[in-house]
Every structure is written in structure tokens, then in C-alpha cells.
Amino acid sequence: MSAPDLLYTELEEDLRATVRRLLRERCDWTAVLARCESEEPYDLDLWRTLAGELGLAALLVPEDLGGAGASARELAVVAEEVGRAVAPVPFLGNVLVTAALVACAEREVLPQLADGSRIGTLAVGLTTAPHAAFPRSVKADGTSLTGTVSAVVDLEVADHVVVPAVDGDGAALYLVDTAASGVTRTPTTPLDLTRRFGTLELAGAVGKRLASGADAERALRRALLTAAGLLASEQVGLAQHCLDSTVDYAKTRYQFGRQIGSFQAVKHRLADLWVEVSTGRAVARNAADALAQDTEVDLAVALAQAHCSDLVVLAAEEHLQLHGGIGMTWEHPAHLYLGRAKSSQLTFGIAETHRQRIGELADLPTP
């Protein structure tokens, strides 16, 4: 087996530069903060630019389905930048729904998601691990769906939802238009003000069946694996921002007549964090590469999540702590990063869940 490619290509670096420039212009943290308690917590204009004009939403979509036919490697770079900026855009829902629709070779909605004109998500609880059992909370009777799914990411802004459901043939995936009758969406007050979710209630809503049986299970798992793998990159981007911003602060903040970064206690903490971010980047790149090559995806994603979901919290907590009192205030972005970090740690299962999975995959069984 050849070693995974863990570096960034020139193309990927170009993509990063473009995305970063746009996010710097359109979504600095003051704008994110101003938005997060407003009527419009998401910046959908920004999303349309990212998704449509820059074509990011098409990256995962194969060319024959109207997409750019790129791979998770490119999208992972975008994820890093989204994390770095805690951008309030429906990125995660888009990854989930796109991966699911691609796995089902869907042709109608996918192009609209790919060009950014419509928004979609996948109706699974945000804390669902990729290897979890197929959800059974929605029942399908013919084309009529009934049931409730909580913690559905980006639900409020979604035009389409792919819903895992159980019907006469067992597992199935259905496509539901959120404007259809029988669909109710209730937003939840989130710890992470920059990423929204809510409860989806279906009371006889009409759905179009996309896949059933083993195909449906495979498609759902692929969607969760893709999103969890890319989330690791988002986490690395966020952690990197926390590290960078804390290093800057340590160089400019004076206490006891010195820069606080000149204290060994602070230096060692930041050096440790740098080590963590470096290892985090390697496992996140590994997950992206595995998704792109379709090799050992389960292990690569479990590994990335087991490592990055704790790393991101460590980084956000150090970011706050080393900023001292200013980091505890609303006017400083530390809380935006902390909220995103802690919530993303829970997203697709906490580290323990993924370590457990690694135990199965690496033949290290429980006693």
C-alpha cells in the first residue's frame, strides 16, 4: 500500500488563498458576531458566492452529475478556511446532503445544490457517528413520511432534506422539499452561535425515494463518513487560527514588563499546541486523502475524529485562557471559536466513540 499524500497541491493552495481572501473580506469575526444573534444568523449571500461563484459546492459532485468532479482533498482545504473564520454558512449540511445524493446518483436536485441556488441538508442527528445503526425514527408509508429527527444541521435554511427512513423494504433514503405540507422545522438555541440546527417533524410529508436497503445504508454511511472526515479539517483550521491568534497576542501583550510570550509557562503551552495542530493536520489530511482515494475510509475518519475533535477544544480553550480576562468577554471572538470547537467535538460522535470504532477496525477488541 502506498503512503497517503498528506501535503497540499499547488491547486489546493490556490483554492485556499481564494477562499481565505473572500472570507477575510466578507466574514471577519465582528461581522460573524454581529450576525449571530440577529434574525439572519447565516450569511446566505456569502454562501451563494462560495458555493455558486467559486463553485465550492460542486467540488464533491462528479462531472457526469453536473459537478466539478474534484475530491474531498480540495473540499478539506475549504473546510479548514471555514473553520478558521467560523463562517456562518450552511457548509456542513451541504457536505452531508451532497455526499448522500452523489451516492444515490441523484440528478435533479444535485445540480441546484452544486450551483448554490438551493440549499440542502441530511436529516440525521448531528451527534450521530458514521458507524451508528441506520436511524429508525422516521417511518415511510408509500411516499408519505412520518417521524421526528432532532439536531438536524442547517435545517432552517434548507430547501431540501434527505431523510433516512424505514419502509416496507427496510432502510431507505427519501428526498423531501421543506416547503411541502406536513413538514415542520423548529430551530434550537445552539451553544455554537455560528452553526445552527433544529428539529424536523414530518407528519405525512411527501418524499421521493432515492435508495433502499443496502444502497440506502451505504449512501448514508458515505455521507456521514465524508462529513466527519471533512469536519476534521474544519477542526484543524479552527485550531490553527486559535494558535496563530494566541501567538500574536503573546507577542504583543505586556505584563511584568515583558511580552507574556517570553514566559516559559506560556511558551511551552503554545509549543505543545503547535505539536498537537501538526499531528492533527496529518490525520485530517489522511482522512481527506482516504475519502478521495476511497481506501481505508472508516479507519482514517475514525482516527481523524478521535484526534481532531479533542484537539480543537484544546486549542479553543488555550486561546481563551492565554488571552486572560479579555477572552472571557463577548467583544472578543474567543467564545465564537469555543462554541464551534466544543460543538464540533460532539458532532458525529465524541473521541471515545471513534476510539471504540478504531478498536474494532484495528482488531483491538474490548475485554
Partner: protein, 394 residues
């Protein structure tokens, strides 16, 4: 003559016979309790105490609680009781003790602490708020920040720079500041929990009579150190019960949600439970040491451990709660009466606990204190100690 537990119980009984808690006005009752020396029993006679051992305080508190007597709601005046009172007792004049301690104890007048500034947090001695002598007054100008509860305080303990030509530790003076003075402006400063528990305080031409100075001119640092020692020791009235803190919330969540349990999380919970219990016992040990007059280094140890555990436990709680851990109870802006880690959602606890390792001295600073003062390790090389404050890099 020293007062023992039996005698204290007798005094409380006598007091209750003379002041029926059900029939006496709350404030009258509290004032009378202060005057009877049954407020803080280790304070001197005439100042709310009986010169008894500090460890006997729970005897009195429990006897009053059993009788259904009103208390002085200590949680509403944490800084007054924990910091201002011991400072005034130790460094104040007789007039100051007489003036401030009684309404402080009864809760009629609450207090805040005007120490930190935007440029001076860990390095408190670097502060730049100016106090200039003008006849029998001082005129104070400057800005304070992160001032907890300034929005409801009647008085503040304040440290200001009275001589910028001296090295930073020598040119400070300590005052009592009237928060109702027109030169005092309090602006809420929202924190990451969504509430404004702390504030920015702008001091513009605030006139403080010299009679409200505590300690000598230029002795502000020593007085402030006395205050901070008390902050870090922060002895409450009662012994914390098992599962009394954050671990209790996590344990309750565990008991309430069998469906969320896993073996790995179980081990983590128990590890946290053991650590919390160890810290609780260390704090009890600290109280017992203090009672016999031997404050040990456990004060700093308890603060460091407490902060670390509160953060680990509240983080664990969110992870355990899973989907519910993604939610927040309420972001509504409010200015609370006191800082409570309980009675709110797990997300609030997680965010608020982040302050535990910053407020009242950061964990890093406390580790330095332990390393240097307890372990006797050589101090960091200091270049700022003997130079005039005004020449220091900032």
C-alpha cells in the same frame, strides 16, 4: 477567655429567644445578630464577632438555619464578605471598621473590587489609574475592567497609583470608593455566557476623602496582597458537601440518562469524581489548618485544582449529554445579582467555568506562586521591580 462551641450554641439560643426570627423584621434581625457578635464569630467583639475560632462559624450558621432565621444572603456580597471585610478589619482605622463592617455583613451595602485594568491584570502592580492628592481629598482618574458586580455595588475597594515616579509596587495607595459618586460610570461588559456579570468602570475626577484611604500612602500593594490572599483562600461558611460542586451536576446527569452511558465515559466520570473529592477534602483540610492559624499552601492548590476540574467536568457533561450538549439554555443579555454556576444549563456551566482559571489570579500565575513561594524555586528574572513605574515598557 475563648468561646467554645457549647457557649456559642447557648448564645444563639438566647439570641433567638429575644429575637423571634419569624416575627422580627429581617434587617433588624441581622443587625441585632451582628451586634450580638454572632455574625462572623472570629471577628473582634464590637465588630460582629466574639474573637472565637474561625472553625466555629458553622456552629452558629447551622443553629440559625435550623431555627429558620433569615441569613445575610452571602452569595450576593461575595467580594464584600470575602475580600473587603478582612481587608478593612486588618488595615482599616477604627472609624472605618465601625462605618463599613455592619452594613456590609447585613448585606445592606454590597461591594466590588476595582483592581484590574485593561493594561494590568496578572501584573496588577502595573496599574495606571491615578490618585492625586488635593487637600483632604484624592482625585482619581482611570479605567477599570472586568469588575464583577459593579452594577449593584454600593462601595468598592480600589487600588490607584499615587506616585508614578516610584517603582511600581511602591507608588500605590488603597482606597474605599463610593460607587454612587458622579465621577463613577459603570458600563456592563458582556461575557461569553451572554450575561454581563462584570463591567467596565470609568473613574473621572472621582473625589475620595482621605478618610477613605486604607493603609498608608504608598502601602497599597501590601494591602492589596492581603486582600488577594483572602480572595484565594475564600473561605465560605459551610463545609462543601460531597458532590456539592460541578461534579454533582455531572453525577445527576449520569444518573438521569442511563441510555447515554458507555464504559469509557463511566471511567472518565469516576476519574473526575475522585479528583473532585480529593479537592474537596483538600479544601476542608485548608479550613482546618486555618482554624488553628496555620494557613498552608493548599489555598493555591485548591484554586488551581478547582478551576481545572470545573472545566474538565463541565466539558465532560456536554460530551455525555450528546445532542443536548449542543444546545444553550438562554443567550438573553442580563446583569445577574451574583455569579452562579448552577441553576443554569450545562452549556452555561461550561462557558462560565472558563473564567475560573482567570478570575482572582490565573492558573499560570498561581503555579508561579506555588513554584516560587512553596517550592522555593528561583523567581523569574525581573527587570521591572526597581525602575520607576513611568519608565516601564507597556
Amino acid at each position: 477567655m475563648t468561646v467554645d462551641a457549647a457557649e456559642l450554641r447557648g448564645r444563639v439560643e438566647e439570641f433567638l429567644a429575644a429575637h423571634d426570627p419569624q416575627r422580627t423584621d429581617r434587617l433588624e434581625f441581622l443587625r441585632a445578630r451582628f451586634d450580638a457578635g454572632l455574625a462572623w464569630v472570629h471577628f473582634p467583639v464590637g465588630l460582629g464577632g466574639l474573637g472565637a475560632a474561625r472553625e466555629l462559624q458553622p456552629v452558629v450558621d447551622e443553629a440559625f438555619a435550623e431555627a429558620g432565621a433569615p441569613d445575610n444572603q452571602p452569595q450576593l456580597n461575595v467580594i464584600g464578605l470575602g475580600m473587603a471585610a478582612p481587608t478593612i478589619l486588618r488595615f482599616g482605622t477604627d472609624e472605618q471598621r465601625q462605618r463599613y463592617l455592619r452594613p456590609l455583613w447585613t448585606g445592606e451595602e454590597t461591594w466590588c473590587q476595582l483592581f484590574s485594568e485593561p493594561g494590568a491584570g496578572s501584573d496588577l502592580a502595573a496599574l495606571s489609574t491615578r490618585a492625586v492628592r488635593d487637600g483632604s481629598d484624592w482625585v482619581v482618574d482611570g479605567q477599570k475592567v472586568w469588575t464583577s458586580l459593579a452594577h449593584r455595588a454600593r462601595w468598592a475597594i480600589l487600588v490607584a497609583r499615587s506616585d508614578p515616579d516610584l517603582p511600581k509596587h511602591k507608588g500605590l495607595t488603597y482606597f474605599i470608593c463610593d460607587m454612587t459618586d458622579p465621577g463613577v460610570e459603570v458600563r456592563p461588559l458582556r461575557q461569553i455566557t451572554g450575561e454581563a456579570e462584570f463591567n467596565e468602570v470609568f473613574l473621572t475626577g472621582v473625589r475620595i476623602p482621605d478618610s477613605q484611604r486604607i493603609g498608608e500612602v504608598g502601602q497599597g500593594w501590601q494591602v492589596a496582597m492581603g486582600t488577594l490572599m483572602n480572595e484565594r483562600v475564600a473561605i465560605g461558611g459551610r463545609t462543601p458537601p460531597r458532590e456539592g460542586g460541578m461534579i454533582g451536576e455531572a453525577a445527576e446527569a449520569w444518573r438521569a440518562h442511563p441510555e447515554k452511558r458507555t464504559p469509557a465515559l463511566h471511567d472518565r466520570l469516576l476519574t473526575l469524581w475522585v479528583a473532585a473529592e480529593a479537592t474537596r477534602l483538600t479544601s476542608i483540610r485548608l479550613r482546618q489548618q486555618l482554624a488553628i492559624g496555620e494557613p498552608g499552601p493548599e489555598g493555591s492548590a485548591v484554586k488551581v485544582a478547582f478551576a481545572e476540574q470545573n472545566q474538565a467536568i463541565t466539558g465532560f457533561e456536554l460530551e455525555f449529554l450528546g445532542e443536548d450538549g449542543l444546545t444553550y439554555d438562554d443567550w438573553t443579555f442580563r446583569q445577574p445579582d451574583y455569579a452562579s454556576l448552577t441553576k443554569r444549563g450545562a452549556g452555561f456551566r461550561y462557558l462560565r467555568a472558563k473564567g475560573n482559571s482567570i478570575e482572582g489570579g490565573t492558573t499560570e500565575i498561581l503555579r508561579n506562586v506555588i513554584a516560587e513561594r512553596v517550592l522555593g524555586l528561583p523567581p523569574e528574572i525581573r527587570t521591572d521591580k526597581d525602575r520607576p513605574w513611568k519608565e516601564l515598557p507597556r
